[in-house]
Structures are given as structure tokens and as C-alpha cells.
């Protein structure tokens, strides 16, 4: 059937996060190329090692940031533990209300 995906890790992440957190917004950025020359990455062939993810989900409501990040870490536990898997994960975790507040703040900032 279809050709193999070039981004299996990203696909997995998207699937797991979507299924568990039902996000209203989800963005996954692959920053691996920015780190591929780092010493710690020597010998690693994967092109999916460093990610930046922003998630907006009601599931984060009434949870502090460390707890929210832990939710995401738990989902991706295997991917982070495996050899050549996710090496670094930057997270921005917001509720829909927080995202809205941030948008307004940004809009005000621009107006100034």
C-alpha cells in the first residue's frame, strides 16, 4: 500500500498525544538537524532525536507545569528510553484558556 513514512517517530508522537490528550492544538517541530553535529549525537543515525512540541489541551487544566510535562513524558516513555529514540523533548503545555490569554497578551504587545 502506502510508502513508508519518513517520520515514524513524529507519527507515533502525534498519534499518542492526540489519542490521550485530545488536544485542540498540537505542533511538533523536529529540531534534530540543529543538534546532529553535537558530540552526544555522534554515531546516531536517526533524524528524529530532538523535538519541540506545543500542546493545547483541556487535560492540562488544574495541573502545574511539571505534572503536565510528566503526562507527556509518560506517553512517550518507550520512545525516550529506546536507543536512538527521542533524546531531547521541549514542551509547551497549555490549556485552551491559557492559550487564549497568551494570544491576547501578544496582541497587546504588538500594539504597543
Amino acid at each position: 500500500m502506502a510508502t513508508q513514512s519518513m517520520t515514524p517517530m513524529e507519527d507515533t508522537m502525534r498519534m499518542k498525544i492526540t489519542e490521550a490528550l485530545k488536544p485542540t492544538a498540537l505542533e511538533i517541530f523536529n529540531d534534530s538537524h540543529l543538534h546532529s553535529h553535537h558530540k552526544a549525537m555522534q554515531g546516531v543515525t536517526s533524524k528524529e532525536t530532538h523535538f519541540r512540541v506545543t500542546i493545547t489541551s483541556e487535560a492540562f487544566a488544574s495541573k502545574m507545569q511539571p505534572a503536565r510535562h510528566r503526562m507527556v513524558y509518560a506517553l512517550l516513555k518507550d520512545e525516550m528510553a529506546q536507543e536512538g529514540g527521542i533524546h531531547a523533548l521541549q514542551l509547551k503545555t497549555r490549556t485552551p484558556a491559557e492559550e487564549e490569554r497568551q494570544k491576547q497578551k501578544d496582541a497587546l504587545a504588538i500594539e504597543k
Binding site: K39, A40, Y73, A88, K92
Partner: protein
């Protein structure tokens, strides 16, 4: 910044003590390499020492109790770890056992919190590559360098102290967790990072150090690249898979993302731990105390 200096023999002890100015607090740490609690205390002391600048009026000396029996007897050391605080040859206080908070409280009582008198010297040095190596790091410190192992991706630099990694296995998980439990309390603000503040080995660690320096926050650090046991153990202990990790008051705050966000949401985040209590007036942000551009 300050490091723990290993005293090899009685003669070295005598000459070191006699050369100290009378206002300097000497923290004497008696240990035995075979005693498990000493391993904890060694790392705690190294972290505590790192919160003091190299020219603060306090020195941290490490003595192997069995190799310096006369000194041990002089101080009536019957159990290790044993810490003696003295100034001008006069004993002030002793701490027996491995309670990190107690040791820190005692040291702060006599030497002030990790900042000495010069506020600018309180912070881990800025990332100025041209800075000459600190004398403390150059004296061939002992256990800190000997114990470095397992660092496939890590290149030691000429400057910047390494925290004191001890020998690896033989430590049970329980003992390791106990050690980590003390370590996260070694300073009110503790940063577990890759590399050291003067030589970060990872971009995220470097950015975190940068933010803390910009806000003038005093903190202790631990280089997880120099101790693989802590590196792996802390991930489990904290239920947090990544570094850097910032701990405040013995609790995990989070990594770079969270730290950055906390400061964005609240300008006064961690203000109580800042050097001057006021940013933008003297202290680390003042032009006179800026690191020289490289």
C-alpha cells in the same frame, strides 16, 4: 568557585591550617572511603562548596580519617562522616552523620550563605573562556578527577570544578536514592546539568545557566556527566527523564522550558534566592561585573 580540597597527610593538614587567615572558616570533613554515607556527604559538600566563590572566606578540606589518624584523634573523630567547623584554629561546631541540611546550616552560620561578601563573586563564573583556571581546581584535586569515568561524550575542560564522583558500583539503589535525596537539598536552588556553569556541555543546560545568571540567582550545581549513577538514578528518583533539572527547596521545578516560563509569568520568581534581591542595581547585571566578552 570553591571546591573541596583533599588533604593527603598530617604535614599537609598542618601547613594548610596554619596558612589560613584567621577570619576564614575551615570546614573539615572526615571520611572513610568504605563508609556508604560518606559517599553522599562527599557529593553534598562538593555541591555546597560550589555555591561559594573561590575567594570567599571559607575552605573545604577533606581528610581520610584512616590516613590521618593523629588528626582524627586530635578532633576526637569516632564516627564518619564527621564535619568540624573552625576559625582561627578554634573549633566552632561539629556535625556528625550525613544530614546535608544540617551541614549547610552550620556552614552558613559562620561563613554566610554561599556568596561570601562580594555579591558578584557569588555566582558560578560567567562563561568567559579566557578566565585563568581557579587555584582550587588546579591543585590536582583528588577524588574529583580520579573518579571521572564513563564519559564517552564528555570532554573535561581546564577550568571549572567537577563535582566529586566517587567510585561506581557497589552502591545499592536504596543508598543511591538516599544520596540523591540529600543532593537535591544541598543548596536551596540546585541545578543538575550537563557540564558546569563555566563549561556547559549542552545547549539547554547553557541556556538555563544563562537565565539564572541574568536573574542573579544563587545556586549550587551538579554535573551529571561526571556521575553516571546520579544521572540515571535521578531520572527515576525525580520521575523526570531529561536534564537540566532545577530543584528548589528539595522539590523539582522542571527543565529549561518550565524555568523560562516561570520567569516570564513572574518576574520575582526565585527572587528570594537572588544575589542582591534587586536586579538591575549592582550585582551581576551591573556593567562593572559583566563577564568580558570573548
Amino acid at each position: 568557585m570553591a571546591t573541596v580540597k583533599e588533604i593527603a597527610d598530617e604535614a599537609a593538614f598542618a601547613s594548610t591550617i596554619s596558612s589560613l587567615p584567621s577570619s576564614t572558616l575551615a570546614v573539615l570533613y572526615f571520611h572513610a572511603p568504605w563508609a556508604a554515607p560518606c559517599k553522599q556527604m562527599s557529593t553534598v559538600l562538593a555541591a555546597l562548596a560550589s555555591t561559594y566563590s573561590a575567594d570567599a572566606p571559607v575552605v573545604f578540606l577533606s581528610l581520610n580519617a584512616e590516613e590521618l589518624p593523629e588528626v582524627s584523634e586530635q578532633y576526637d573523630v569516632t564516627a564518619v562522616p564527621f564535619i568540624v567547623l573552625q576559625k582561627d584554629g578554634r573549633g566552632l561546631e561539629t556535625v556528625s552523620g550525613s544530614d546535608a541540611a544540617k551541614v549547610r546550616a552550620a556552614v552558613e552560620k559562620y561563613a554566610g550563605p554561599g556568596s561570601g561578601n562580594a555579591s558578584k563573586a557569588a555566582l558560578p563564573p560567567a562563561q568567559a573562556v579566557t578566565r585563568p583556571p581557579q587555584p582550587a581546581a588546579a591543585n590536582g584535586t583528588n577524588g574529583a578527577l580520579d573518579g571521572v569515568r564513563n564519559l564517552a561524550a564528555y570532554t573535561p575542560t581546564a577550568e571549572g570544578p567537577k563535582t566529586a564522583p566517587e567510585y561506581s558500583s557497589g552502591e545499592t539503589k536504596e543508598a543511591l536514592f538516599k544520596r540523591i535525596g540529600e543532593l537535591v537539598k544541598a543548596a536551596p536552588v540546585m541545578l543538575f546539568m550537563k557540564g558546569t556553569p563555566s563549561a556547559p556541555q549542552c545547549g539547554f543546560s547553557r541556556q538555563t545557566v544563562g537565565i539564572l545568571r541574568e536573574k542573579g540567582i544563587r545556586y549550587g550545581f551538579f554535573n551529571i556527566l561526571a556521575d553516571d549513577d546520579v544521572r540515571q538514578g535521578l531520572k527515576e528518583f525525580a520521575d523526570w527523564p531529561t536534564f537540566p533539572q532545577l530543584w528548589v527547596g528539595g522539590e523539582l521545578v522542571g527543565g529549561l522550558d518550565i524555568v523560562r516560563e516561570e520567569f516570564e509569568n513572574d518576574e520575582d520568581f526565585l527572587k528570594e534566592y537572588s544575589v542582591s534581591g534587586q536586579r538591575n542595581t549592582g550585582g551581576p547585571a551591573a556593567p562593572s561585573t559583566q563577564a568580558q566578552p570573548t
